[in-house]
């Protein structure tokens, strides 16, 4: 099994840490993992993206052009990565702030109201966990227990009291993700 994922959004949305938790979850189940961020000034406030690969075999390229799954969290990333999903692959996105919704019909598209749910839960920081929950519902590549273990590994101990909240967010995400119906009609 090899799963090649791009997670892309704004800096501050927890894109990189979501990738890190996913990578740690892979380690928890004895997989090979790689986490390759875009780095530099673009991380500070602008767009941020990270390529995460989980595999049962040695990982070749940590840097990719096409992906099994794209998790897209803002319009710029939609513009950049919608066409990077392999045919038959998955696109998961948060419609919040999206003007141009996905149009591809050769991939599976799901939407999840991550920002809205996080706001309802009263903690914007758990946004990325809601999204991760949604992703895992669609693509259960790592066990939920391993995600929790991965969280424990990637969070320093003084934040461990936040783990139940994160777990709750994961479950909200699992429940909230829905298939998105492509409406390709140019004139409605």
């Amino acid at each position: 099994m090899t799963e090649e994922i791009i997670i892309a959004g704004f800096g501050g949305q927890g894109v990189l840490s979501m990738g890190k938790i996913l990578a740690y979850s892979g380690i928890m189940q004895d997989q090979e993992v790689s986490w390759m961020p875009s780095y530099g000034p673009e991380m500070r406030g602008g767009t941020a993206n990270v390529t995460v690969i989980l595999s049962n075999d040695r990982i070749s390229s940590p840097y990719l052009k096409v992906f099994d799954t794209a998790i897209i969290l803002n319009q710029q990333s939609m513009d950049k990565f919608e066409h990077s999903v392999k045919p038959g692959g998955y696109l998961i996105y948060d419609p919040n702030g999206i003007i141009q919704h996905p149009t591809r019909t050769d991939i599976h598209v799901f939407s999840i109201e991550g920002s809205k749910i996080a706001a309802e839960m009263g903690n914007k920081k758990i946004f990325n966990m809601v999204i991760l929950g949604g992703f895992l519902k669609v693509k259960p590549i790592v066990k939920l227990d391993n995600v929790i273990d991965g969280l424990k590994k990637s969070l320093s101990e003084r934040y461990h009291h936040l783990i139940p909240k994160n777990e709750e967010a994961l479950h909200k995400g699992i429940k909230s993700i829905i298939p998105f119906k492509i409406n390709n009609k140019v004139f409605s």
Binding site: A23, V33, Y39, G40, S60, Y63, K65, S154
Partner: protein, 374 residues
């Protein structure tokens, strides 16, 4: 105890240094390698092993601090990124001339000039063709994974002390910034001062006891002596070529086409080979792990087996010169690589292999031959 962790390449290198029992690290911040000194400062290695960590006032000061500690037999290292390595080259030349063991790490970014902070492999010439002044070479190790970032520190010091010569770890922004699973080695005991004096006492400046004084210098004003010194260095480099060449072959057994790539490009090229094989193209990868010594003989031999070779690196074509020299015109050799901080994709590499080698390369090669006959 060995430990499994998810780490950035730069952090794994820093942790590898602590665990390898390194005595001192001197550095100066520069993107994309600042995590090395940040990690070391955070980890308090002076408490863990007694390792000295100091943020120098410049890259120049840092490399000369390495020179100072190395001259006393201590295991000292520094790290930087391309523009900073340019500044260190004077010191690196001195280390080579004075025959001092030390480790320098370059987490390469795009150049020339201030360039870009994104990954690049355009410092190949600087690393293997001298860089600094004078007749010298560096033993150059090119890690291609976070695991190797961690492991190569100890390997580099082993070579440095075997030959009393500076060793360069040539990484890049991609390997430095990415995270992978890494198995950290057991903590090596740092040598005591007494052990340093015992093992390096015949050359290191540790204080003159009941022996002749030790002098560390790269200066020989008498030309005959200087020539002898240079020849002594050349002997070391010959021995490195015989005893310490490292490379890796992937899918080469039945390969009709060969890609040569090191470091991050080797990882991306490996994926390109997977894609090629899915299309029925029998491609293989030769990955030099040491850039000096370079796997000349292996390339020369592989040239009898394959129809063409693509040299891939994040530059406009530097290593390709060594590939061509090794192959001695037996088969066409072409270069492919993005530069300026752009990372080539596996698809781009495959396309280049098809266009430059499988299709055009052969044809153009024969045409050139014909026209030269005409």
């Amino acid at each position: 105890m060995s430990e499994l962790k998810l780490m950035k390449g730069n952090e794994a290198l820093a942790e590898g240094a602590i665990r390898a029992g390194v005595d001192a690290y001197f550095g100066y911040p520069i993107t994309p390698q600042s995590e090395v000194i940040e990690y070391l400062m955070r980890e308090r290695p002076e408490e863990r092993t007694g390792m000295v960590v100091l943020q120098a006032e410049s890259e120049i000061a840092a490399i000369n601090m390495v020179y100072g500690a190395a001259s006393t037999g201590k295991r000292a290292m520094t790290s930087s990124s391309s523009p900073g390595i340019s500044l260190k080259l004077e010191g690196i030349s001195y280390l080579a001339g004075a025959e001092l063991p030390a480790v320098i790490v370059n987490v390469v970014r795009g150049g020339p000039g201030l360039g870009t902070i994104q990954p690049s492999q355009a410092d190949y010439f600087q690393s293997v063709k001298g860089g600094g002044h004078g007749d010298y070479k560096l033993y150059v190790l090119a890690p291609a994974s976070v695991q190797e970032m961690s492991d190569f520190v100890e390997d580099a010091f082993d070579i440095a002390f075997k030959y009393r010569a500076p060793v360069l770890i040539l990484s890049d922004g991609l390997i430095g910034q990415m995270m992978e699973k890494v198995v950290l080695k057991d903590q090596q005991e740092r040598r005591t001062d007494k052990e340093v004096i015992e093992s390096c006492g015949d050359w290191a400046t540790t204080g003159r006891t009941n022996r002749e004084r030790n002098i560390i210098t790269s200066l020989d004003l008498q030309s005959e002596k200087m020539e002898a010194r240079v020849h002594r260095l050349m002997k070391k480099y010959e021995q490195m070529e015989k005893e310490d060449l490292r490379y890796e072959k992937i899918n080469c057994d039945d390969a009709e086409y060969l890609i040569v790539a090191y470091g991050s490009s080797a990882r991306i090229a490996q994926k390109a080979i997977e894609l090629a094989r899915e299309k029925g193209i029998k491609a293989g990868l030769l990955r030099p792990i040491t850039l000096f010594p370079f796997p000349k003989q292996e390339l020369f031999d592989l040239a009898d087996q394959v129809k063409g070779i693509l040299s891939v690196e994040l530059s406009t074509g530097q290593m390709v010169e060594d590939v061509r020299l090794s192959v001695e015109h037996k088969v066409p050799v072409e270069h492919f690589g993005r530069t300026g901080g752009i990372i080539h994709t596996p698809e781009e590499i495959l396309e280049a292999l098809e266009q430059k080698i499988i299709n055009n390369g052969r044809i153009r090669h024969h045409k050139t031959r014909e026209s030269s006959i005409l």
